[in-house]
Amino acid sequence: MRMRTVEISVGAFLLAGLFALVLLALRVSGLSVNADNTTYRLYAEFDNVGSLTKRAKVAMGGVTIGRVVDIELDKKTYMARVIMDIETNVDNIPVDSSAAILTAGLLGEKFIGISIGGSRDFFKDGETIDDTQSAIVLEDLIGKFLLGSVGKDDEESNDSF
C-alpha cells in the first residue's frame, strides 16, 4: 500500500517534468509542432553588418521567416557575407527584394529585414540578394553629428535620423 503511493507520486513527478519540458518547448520557445522545419539558403553581402550575430532573425513585414546561420568576410570584395536559412514555405521572395540590417527598438538586437520588390521571379536556394543596405552604426552617426557634418554631407540621407 505504501509502495503504491510511492509509485503514483513518482509517476506524477515524471509526468510533471515532461509537461514542463513540453511547455518550455511550445509556450516559451514557440516551437511549432506541425511546421516542417525545412529551409532554403540565401546569401547577402553587406558593407558593414555592425553587431549582427548568428541566430539573428530574418523578418519580412515584421514576421520572422528565417535565421542568420553564419557571417563571414568575403576575401575578394572585403564585404561581409551573411548566410541565411529561410523557411521553405516562404518561397515567393521577388529577386529584386532588398535586405537591410535593422535594429529592434533603439538599443535592441539587430535583425535582417527584407523589403519586397516587384519582380515575378522568386529567389531560389543558394542565390544572393544583391540590393542591401548596411547597418546604421550608432557611433558613426553620433560622431558625424558631433562634428556637425550630418546636415552638410548627408543632406539626402538624414531623413533616417
Binding site: L14, L24, G30
Partner: protein, 264 residues
C-alpha cells in the same frame, strides 16, 4: 629550503590523494553500472523508490525557489528595461536566464543540498551500521543494490526538476511582469518566443542539467560509499558532498556555457 620542499611534498601528496579518490570513484561507478553481479531485486522498482526520495521530495523546495527567482527576475528586469522603454522584453530576459543558466544551475545547487547530502548521509550510515557488509555476506553486491539505483534516480530526476524550476520561474516572472506591472501579455510571451530557441536554449539547458545530475549524484553516492564509517566521518562526507558538488556544478557550468553559447 627544506620547509619549501615540505610544502611541495604536501601539495604533491594531496594531488595524489585527489587522483586516487577520482580513480576509486570511477571504479565504483563502473562496477555499479556495468559490473556483472546482480542486484537481486528488480532494478526498476528500486529506482522508483529512490526517485521518490531524491526527486519527489525535492519538488517543494524546487518549485518554491523557482517561483521566487522568476518573480525577482521579472521585477529586476522590469526596473532596468523600463528606463530604455523596452519593458516588453522582460519575458525574453526572464526566460533566457532561467532556461540557459538559472534553471539548471540553481536546481543543481539545491539538489546537492537537499538530495545529495541525504544520499551521502544515508549510504555512509549504511556503511557505518554494517548494512553494506551485511548485504555482501548475504551475497548481494551493495554497488548494484544500493549505489546503482540511487545514481540512476538522481540522474533521471535532475533534468526533470530543472525543467519544472524553469517553467514555474517563467510563470513567476509573468505573474510579476504581466499581472502586476502591466506589461502587455502578447508582447511578453511573443518576445520570449521570438528570442528563445528550442534547440539552442531549451535543449542546451537540458543537456546542462543532465550533466549536473550525473556529477552531483556521482559525488554524493561516492562520498557516502567512501566515507569513514563514524559519525564524524559521515558528517565530513556530507559537507564534502555539498561543497564539491556545488564547485563542480559552477565550474562545469562555465565550461558548458563557453562551449554552447560562446561560439567556441
Amino acid at each position: 629550503m627544506s620547509r619549501l620542499l615540505d610544502h611541495v611534498a604536501t601539495l604533491g601528496r594531496s594531488g595524489l590523494e585527489v587522483l586516487q579518490a577520482m580513480g576509486r570513484a570511477t571504479i565504483m561507478l563502473g562496477m555499479a553500472l556495468f559490473g556483472r553481479s546482480s542486484s537481486h531485486g528488480s532494478m526498476p522498482s528500486l529506482v522508483v523508490k529512490q526517485i521518490y526520495a531524491v526527486g519527489v521530495l525535492s519538488l517543494i523546495i524546487i518549485t518554491v525557489s523557482g517561483v521566487f527567482i522568476g518573480m525577482v527576475l521579472g521585477l529586476q528586469g522590469y526596473n532596468i528595461l523600463v528606463r530604455y522603454g523596452t519593458e516588453q522584453s522582460v519575458g525574453q530576459m526572464v526566460a533566457l536566464s532561467l532556461v540557459r543558466e538559472l534553471g539548471p544551475v540553481v536546481t543543481a545547487l539545491l539538489f546537492a543540498g537537499r538530495a545529495g547530502s541525504a544520499l551521502t548521509a544515508e549510504i555512509g550510515l549504511m556503511k557505518a551500521t554494517e548494512q553494506l557488509s551485511s548485504l555482501e555476506m548475504i551475497g548481494v553486491d551493495p554497488l548494484k543494490r544500493i549505489i546503482a539505483p540511487r545514481f540512476w534516480a538522481g540522474f533521471i530526476s535532475m533534468p526533470l526538476l530543472a525543467c519544472i524550476f524553469s517553467m514555474v520561474g517563467i510563470f513567476g516572472g509573468s505573474m510579476v511582469g504581466v499581472d502586476w506591472l502591466g506589461i502587455y501579455e502578447g508582447s511578453f510571451w511573443g518576445n520570449m518566443q521570438q528570442s528563445v530557441d528550442f534547440w539552442n536554449d531549451v535543449v542546451d539547458g537540458l543537456i546542462k542539467s543532465v550533466m549536473f545530475g550525473f556529477v552531483v549524484t556521482w559525488i554524493a553516492v561516492f562520498q557516502g560509499y567512501d566515507a569513514v564509517p563514524t559519525s564524524e566521518g559521515i558528517s565530513r562526507a556530507t559537507t564534502r558532498t555539498v561543497v564539491y558538488a556545488s564547485l563542480a556544478v559552477l565550474g562545469l557550468d562555465f565550461i558548458l556555457t563557453a562551449v554552447m553559447f560562446g561560439d567556441l
